[in-house]
């Protein structure tokens, strides 16, 4: 009876809030410090990219779609290029595909290290934030050396890539990877043994495997709950058939598992990057693409750092696409916040949110 008469408090967070690096709006209803429900409001960075893509030509769209997200720009450009090439009946040369995969894995390293820092910051562990971002600069140097830009590398063109790798470059990448591998060992140790950190992660934001499937989670967030789903393994694209990756799974389903899965994925990325550098196929970088793309529809799926990225592309035979649908991984993963918030302390919310590695600009488009 008393509970019923008790007033319900709603704590709004965002769109501009110190705990959010990007604008989103959350409303947590609380009873004392305990969260009883959560809702999310998106669209603060909704620009209307899907519509704009219909008004620009196939080549312009590559640069527009790359700017859906500055963190996983290569993932968007790659999914789009692979889809358009499939529609046109063109296959990029093997060397181009290998370089695409190489950049995709380097991007995953940069994205996961970025996320590690941001979520450590949410946990109040700023030392780890500073360390991981210092080390992340290594990968930024590698990407810059390879592509000419730190962010939005635009390494893809329709039909191939525009960056090549020579021996000196390959050695520079190897040196960077060697250094990062050593550092990543250290991060894994912190994420699994630091007592104060574990108190913020162990058992927090738990989802069972069934729940993760029901919520429709994707990527590392799902794999941390033992959902064996990774596009790189299930539907190998680019050069993933020649340079396969192992799926990283964890059975625990809590925040700690999400940390462990992402950090372990880094080792897998390092291994694959070395493998590609050692066995990089020789040959051309681009194949010829027509300006107009044959009429048709295709689905292009790739594994972005945050999970499955889904592109549906429809061509009407002109030099502009008829429709491009982008379903980003973050929009699937938001369910982990609304779905697991109940019963947690309000102070855990930033950690749970950071634990899914949200990307509002991917989501809102």
């Amino acid at each position: 009876m008393e509970n019923e008469t008790r007033e319900k408090f709603i704590i709004p967070i965002g769109p501009q809030h110190p705990a959010l690096k990007e604008p989103g709006h959350f409303e947590f209803s609380v009873d004392g410090e305990t969260v009883t429900g959560a809702t999310v409001r998106l669209g603060y960075v909704h620009r209307g990219i899907e519509k704009a893509a219909e008004e620009r030509n196939w080549v312009q769209d590559l640069y527009l779609l790359e700017r859906i997200c500055g963190i996983c720009s290569h993932a968007h450009a790659l999914a789009y290029s692979l889809g358009v090439e499939k529609l046109a009946g063109v296959t990029a040369p093997p060397r181009a595909q290998a370089i695409r995969q190489l950049v995709a894995e380097l991007e995953r390293v940069h994205s996961h290290l970025l996320w590690l820092g941001v979520s450590a910051h949410e946990a109040g562990f700023d030392t780890l934030f500073m360390f991981s971002w210092r080390d992340r600069e290594t990968i930024m140097d590698v990407l810059e050396g390879l592509t000419g830009n730190r962010v939005n590398y635009s390494v893809n063109v329709l039909g191939g890539v525009k960056a090549d790798i020579d021996d000196a470059r390959a050695d520079a990448i190897r040196r960077g990877i060697d250094f990062l591998e050593e550092r990543t060992q250290h991060y894994l140790k912190i994420a699994t043994s630091d007592e104060t950190f574990l108190r913020r992660t162990r058992g927090v934001g738990y989802t069972s495997r069934e729940q993760a499937e029901e919520l429709g989670l994707v990527g590392p967030t799902a794999r941390a709950a033992n959902v064996a789903r990774d596009v790189r393994v299930d539907v190998p694209y680019a050069a993933y058939t020649d340079f396969p990756v192992q799926m990283t799974l964890d059975t625990r389903g809590d925040l700690e598992a999400r940390f462990v899965v992402r950090i372990r994925e880094l080792f897998e990325s390092y291994r694959v990057v070395r493998q590609i550098l050692d066995r990089l196929p020789a040959g051309e970088l681009t194949a010829r693409m027509p300006r107009r793309i044959k009429e048709g529809e295709t689905v292009s799926r790739i594994e972005a750092p945050r999970g499955e990225l889904f592109y549906f592309i429809k061509s009407n035979g002109s030099d502009k696409p008829e429709r491009i649908k982008v379903r980003t991984p973050s929009i699937c993963n938001f369910a982990v916040v609304t779905g697991t918030a109940k019963g947690h302390q309000l102070a855990d919310m930033p950690m749970i949110l950071a634990g899914m590695d949200p990307c509002f600009s991917c989501n809102d488009r």
Partner: protein
């Protein structure tokens, strides 16, 4: 006597304020529709390699404590009012830095239905840092230039204060 003290007092106060402002400006970052590219580069500037804090610049959360508003991205329909509100909440004097091509001109998002324009169509901008995204060095350079102009402005205001008090008390 009072005239002389008033003059000196106003002048000294202005100088102290400018000194404090130029040496430890607090900045707030607002993303009004950016792709995150500029945002992660801004965040990179406060991390060890670039370390913006050696110039006394501190990124923090509340607009009410901020001297500088660092804006990224084009302005979206939903962000316009928030951007204005954040700007209005900042105490005077306040300075706005537009970071990145989109903040300056709308960039690649020009013509999207969700985009109302660029930053200086909504709030006045003091410094522009171009790039897609600008390198952390460029962001630091832009901020340092802004601080340099504040110093110059501060000296001018101190001069004005000298002039004002002289006219007020004469």
């Amino acid at each position: 006597m009072a005239t002389i003290l008033g003059k000196k007092w106003d002048e000294a106060l202005e100088q102290v304020k400018t000194w404090a402002r130029v040496n430890s400006p607090w900045a707030i970052h607002f993303n009004s529709g950016s792709c995150n590219g500029c945002d992660i580069e801004i965040l990179a500037t406060v991390t060890p390699r670039y370390d913006l804090e050696r110039f006394g610049v501190k990124l923090q959360g509340s607009p009410r404590h901020a001297d500088i508003l660092i804006c990224t991205g084009p302005v979206t329909l939903q962000a316009r009012d928030r951007l204005k509100r954040v700007y209005e909440q900042m105490p005077e004097p306040k300075f706005v830095v537009a970071v990145g091509s989109c903040a300056i001109s709308g960039g690649v998002f020009q013509g999207c239905y969700g985009v109302v324009g660029h930053i200086d169509q909504v709030i006045p901008v003091d410094a522009y840092i171009p790039g897609c995204p600008p390198r952390p060095e460029a962001i630091i350079d832009g901020l340092v230039k802004l601080l340099g102009s504040l110093q110059a402005k501060g000296e001018a205001t101190a001069g004005e204060a000298r002039h004002d008090s002289a006219t007020a008390h004469s």
